[in-house]
Structures are given as C-alpha cells and as structure tokens.
Symmetry: C2
Subunit: 295 residues, 2 copies
C-alpha cells in the first residue's frame, strides 16, 4: 500500500508556485493577486478563508480579503463582485460559501467573470470542463487529479466508482475521470442516494472516490484487492481526547481498507490540503491568462 | 415489449407546438424564428438543414436559411454569428456542423449568444445542464429524455449504461440520467473506447443508451431481461434492394434484442425524428425567454 500524501504533495506544489512567483518578481512582473469575499461571521468559513490568505502569503501572491457583514444584501454583494471583475489588479477571486439566506448563491456565482473564477464554479467553466476545453477545474477535483498524476496511478481503462453527485466534487470528478488523456480514460460510474446495490457496484471498482460525508462508510470487505481509494469525506466526530473535543474522519475505515488498497488517501492529510494548493495553482493560471490577454 | 415510437411522439410534439404557435398568432404575438447557417455543399448537411426548415414551416415558425460558400473564412462566419446574435427578429439559431477545415468550430460555437444557442452546445449552456440549472438541452439527449418521460419509463435507482462519450450524445446523456428528478436519478456508467469488459458492464444495465455507430453491436445475449434499449446509432449499410442503395441501421440487433427488452427504440423512427422536434421545442423556449427578458 502506498499513501497518496496530500500534505507532502501540496507542500511541493506550493514550493513550485513560489519558485515561479520569484521568477516573476525578478522579471519585474506583477505577481498573482487573489481576492476572497466573505459575508458574515461563520467560524468554519473564516477559518477556510484565513487558510487561503495564508497560502497566498506563503507562495508570494498578493491577497485581498473583502469582509462584508452578514446583513449584506444581494445587490451589495453583486456590486462587490462587479468591482472585482473590473479591477485589473485582481487576477482571480472567490466568494466563500455558504452565503446568508437573503442572497441567491447561484446569481452571485453567475456574476463572476469566468476568467477570474478560480473556484471553477461558473457554468461557463464547468461546461468547458465537460467539453474537454482548457479551463479552471474546481480545486478539490483538480487536487485529486494532481495526486493521481504525481503518483502515476493508472486510470486508463480502469473502472472508477464515484460516490456522491455534489456540484463541487462528485459530478465534476465523474466527468473528469472519463475524459480523454491522463488522468482519465476511466469507465466511470456515478452513484448517489438513489443508487441501489451500491456495495455490489463498489466491489467492482478499481478506483473508488468517496465524497459522501458518512464516517467509516467504506469498509474493507466492500472493496476489491489493490483498489485505489480516494477519500473526500470530512466529518467531525466527538473525541474527548482531542484538544477541540472532536477529530476529523473521512468516509473510509482507513485502518482496515488501507491493508487491502494499492493506494489510499489519509484523512486528514490527503485530499484536504490539496484543495488550497490547487486554488493557488488556478490563481497562477489566471495571472498567466491575463498576461496573455494583454499581449 | 413496447416500442418507444419516436416517429409518433415527435409528431405529437410538433402538433403541440403548432397549437401554441397558433395561440401566439391569435394574441398578435411574434412567432418563434429559427435561423440555420450552413457553410458549403455537404449533401447530408443540406438534407439535415432542409428538414429543420421544413419542420419550422410545419409548426408555424418563421425560419431563415443562411447559406455560405465552402470558401467562407472564419472571420466571415464569426461576423454572420454576430449579426444573428444582435438581430432581435431571430430567437434562436444553429450553425450546421461539420464546418470546413479553415474554420475553428469551437471558436464559432463559443461566439453564439448562449440565449440563442438552441443546439445547447455552448459551454455556458452545457455547464448549466451539468449544474442542474434550466437551459437548452442538446436536441438528441433532450429527445431521449422526452421519450422516457412520455412512456413513463422508470429511471429512478435504475442502472443506466451509456455507450460512447461524444459531446453531442454520450457525455450529456450520462450527466442527464444522473441528475435529480425524472427522468433521472439513475446510477450511470459511461463507457467508451478505453472501457474493458464492456459486455459485463452492459449485462448489468437496466437501461442501455448506445451511441456508438457500430451496426448490430448490441446483441440479445448481452442485455438483461426487460432492459430498456435506446439506440442512438445511425449507420448506412449497403443494401441493393433499397432505392438509394443503402439502408439506415442502429447499434442494436433489433430483431433479437426487441424480444428481450421491455422498451426499445427502432432505427429509423426512434431517437432520430425526436431530434428535430426537440430543436423546435428549444426554439419555442428561446422565444418565451426573449419575451420574458423584454418585460
């Protein structure tokens, strides 16, 4: 069994980006600039956005944090989005989800300039992805592809089973694994809450990508020998011995499944840390795109 | 076995649209107007476009045929697209594919205003489809959904196997069958040229959607009892007894598979005739959207 070590790989990616940014500086070029918009005071959201800003500093990007009160109206948020679209200093930006109830999330995501949509959630970018065009791939799926690529995990002709059809992970992952090229060319089955005989389907998988959010859902007896296991689940379970009173667990019974798997991502330290690294990579791509557009 | 009779259903749909158009006329409203652009003199393309114009007449739409010489440059075609985008008289338009070699097809499709893209090929519309938003669904997949809906074929929790990952049929079909709602909520497996053990996968399918283009590929021994069979293949095979010297056959060995299937589409007369009917439906939707936008 080999660990797909997201902590290690994400560190490498950030170092590679830092090298690129340094070269940009040496050439006197403007460095990539990411903006993050957060509405309200949700603790988890603040933590996520904080990590993104921290990662920007680490790789040498400029960053701007736009904090808006929880009472912000849709019109006000749309105005902020428009300003960021029009601001030439900003290469890419994200609007941290979830948004307060008074705001239509879809409307806001639709208002982001696709060329600055480093989260890859805009329909134009999502459609480009599904039509095999070059675009921003949402960070979590992009991170999974990067892990498979760096560890040279064979995907060609393999049967990949994706569990969960969310817009952020399951749906894009199911599309990406079936695209031409590497990582891709898999036969892909997308399963979800309406799937019957899910254990039978999983038992056939060469690669399992689980984005269900149910702790310890995937057991050793459910998977094939030498299967590749990608665990995207993040759940908090109470744990008195932990400082915060909980610990983070994935969808996979790691202790037992890891004995059977050929490759497996741990939780934490697998897919999670890759997400922010890939957001940095998308921001770098956005900068490079903008430079090309201006030539 | 029940026939999914595309010839019959497409006729019904066109009649329903004609009724709606008549009511529009009675209210003194502008009727839907479809434009079709064709570049060059490809025989099959001219036939397809001709059928679309004929269908417009039948349902009471206005139609405009823009015929350009095969020597048309990309710039010239893009200018035509721009004119159609800006022409308020035109509700929707299509650019008939394939285009001559000197023209970048992707660039042309990208230039079409998504609100007039009744073929549903623009990335923005494709992305909306993949993100469960309301949009124009490409005509062939839309026609398959309509057949499943009108015949009340159960799709919820069923295992749908799609054969072929083209942008026009396989890829969108795999997405649509896994979306929430009806027809949808299927567990979907997308297979393609890199798929191994394809017969084993097909043998598990409750619903098979074949868009391979290989005559008589799908044999009775490959499918489950009572499977639903959707045949999207269209191949010409030489036939001296036929007037034109060939006949049209699908991917499915209809004679034998039909004895095992619960529902099956014939070729011709199944999915084929649905395509033009759904293009008419998308054009009607485009008209209704434009009316709403002006209110």
């Amino acid at each position: 069994m080999e660990l797909l070590d997201g902590k290690l790989v994400s560190k490498q990616i950030k170092e590679e980006i830092a090298v690129t940014v340094n070269k940009m500086k040496e050439r006197g070029e403007k460095v990539p600039h990411l903006a993050a918009v957060i509405v309200g005071n949700d603790g988890a959201s603040l933590t996520y956005v904080g990590s993104k800003v921290k990662a920007c500093k680490l790789v040498g990007f400029e960053s701007t944090l736009v904090q808006l009160p929880s009472t912000t109206s849709e019109v006000e948020l749309l105005r902020t989005v428009k300003e960021l679209n029009e601001n030439d200093e900003i290469d890419g930006f994200i609007v941290q989800l979830p948004l307060p109830k008074q705001i239509d999330t879809q409307k806001v995501l639709m208002a982001i300039d696709p060329d600055k949509d480093v989260d890859g959630f805009h329909p134009t970018n999502f459609g480009k992805m599904a039509l095999d065009m070059s675009t921003f791939i949402p960070a979590t799926p992009f991170g999974i592809l990067e892990l498979l690529e760096r560890y040279k995990v064979e995907t060609n002709g393999k049967h990949t089973v994706v569990i969960g059809r969310s817009h952020i992970v399951g749906r894009p992952m199911s599309i990406l694994m079936g695209r031409k090229g590497f990582p891709g060319n898999s036969t892909v089955t997308l399963t979800h809450s309406h799937t019957k005989n899910i254990t039978q389907i999983i038992s056939q998988a060469d690669i399992v990508i689980s984005a269900l959010g149910v702790p310890n859902f995937l057991k050793a007896e459910m998977v094939k020998d030498d299967a590749v296991i990608i665990d995207v689940g993040i759940s908090r379970v109470p744990d008195e011995s932990a400082k915060r009173g909980y610990r983070i667990v994935g969808d996979v019974d790691f202790e037992n499944v890891s004995k059977k798997a050929s490759y497996i991502t741990p939780v934490p330290g697998g897919v999670g840390p890759m997400t922010i690294a890939m957001l940095m990579k998308n921001t770098l791509l956005a900068r490079e795109k903008h430079m090309l557009a201006r030539k």
